[in-house]
Assembly symmetry: C2
Homo-oligomer: 273 residues x 2
Amino acid sequence: MKLLKSHKSFNGHTQFWSHDSYETKTEMKFSTFIPEGKIKGCLIWLSGLTCNEENFITKAGAQKTLAEQGLMLIAPDTSPRGLNLAGEHDSYDFGSGAGFYLDASNPPFEKNYRMYSYITTELYELIQTKFLVQNISIMGHSMGGHGALIIGLKNPDKFKSISAFSPIVNPILAPWGVKAFLGYLGNDQTDWKDCDSVELLKNGKRHPTSILIHQGTNDEFLTNQLMPENFSEAADKANQKYQLKYCDGYDHSYYFIATYIEEQILHHAQYLK
Amino acid sequence: MKLLKSHKSFNGHTQFWSHDSYETKTEMKFSTFIPEGKIKGCLIWLSGLTCNEENFITKAGAQKTLAEQGLMLIAPDTSPRGLNLAGEHDSYDFGSGAGFYLDASNPPFEKNYRMYSYITTELYELIQTKFLVQNISIMGHSMGGHGALIIGLKNPDKFKSISAFSPIVNPILAPWGVKAFLGYLGNDQTDWKDCDSVELLKNGKRHPTSILIHQGTNDEFLTNQLMPENFSEAADKANQKYQLKYCDGYDHSYYFIATYIEEQILHHAQYLK
């Protein structure tokens, strides 16, 4: 694990790291905020399409609240990098920058595009063994909100709490999700359902805490890609506790995230004592 | 004046604008944060080398405090753009992205590189006539800290208060300043002194309020470019009130700015009632 950059930031440090990943078989990068003093827990932040490890940590303004709460945060890149697989760099919503937090089964992606295992196993263990923080929660934005929901619902013992901004809750019905799942998983829709939060709820997956979601009403992707009402309908039927907060006038950008990041961090803080 | 983008952000809007400038004779861009409700005053933020109108508004995390205080902020680009003057794009610290907040007298820059007049006259009037905000203060970072200091000291009636992060306080002795002044102003050092905060203090310029400066002690440019002790020495001799706050371990980055931006905004808020 290599420390690339470190900036003092509030009462702690914003840092950038790289390491050789055994899951993706590439060098992976991530950013962290590490407060001074005793660390109560760690938030994993999963970013959206086109992002890398820098977007959240530079734009969300999360450090102040993290510092106040004694929480660290780790924000990994959104896909393997440095490969040149067929079709990998052709579009913004598939391949590099668009790993979709699943384990690909389709060639040529199946050896490296293993973001689900990377997050739930490799990065999870790295937080516990290298940063020595045991309590871990998960959150994300858009594609990363989808990632946080499926990872949290499938691993309720590993992740203390779940939240999301503008998540792709039902990717099997969203153009972004259909494209990604076809490319990474192939035609068998049984595999797709294992990577879809609405389908996971229908199939019995639950998280013991209330899942917190913020969704802007002026989000340009609201009706065709995000469809949050599909989540609330499935969660109601499944008796999964959740709070879906519609935020009037906000869009899909980091200006929206910055506005509500404090509320989401405080949500997790209550489960990371 | 053209609104390019608008994002709801805390209780207001983060926006991006362009307009045809009569000072630079180019299209100039700026970003704003405009809170809802009654606006008490406006902060002009001047960015540093290589920056444009986006850096501060995306990275500093200023919107929360601005919203709470009922203040707007305007962050202009750091130079004219879209020209192709000889030598304009050859280096990061001269020409485009490096206007140094002065009016050039040297060809080929003298017609367009008029950032001093652009800020003190054109942008100032635009705030008062288009945004209808009368009380204006000024702040900035590095090259923009230099800009805030010289503009505030030369116009104490127009700008209610002054603050800076890591400013180039004595550019006539700093490699960045010498290069810029030679290129924009020519060899006559009399002209240079009119664009140097330490020299302005020596020559009788004062501001009625206490000038607030934050400076990181791990700033990579501290000793060879910034030299804040030259400012404190000149201000002491001149009986100019100031607070120079050395911040232990912080560097030259926006992570430092984000940490102390609330304190600087609150400093200005007391003069913008």
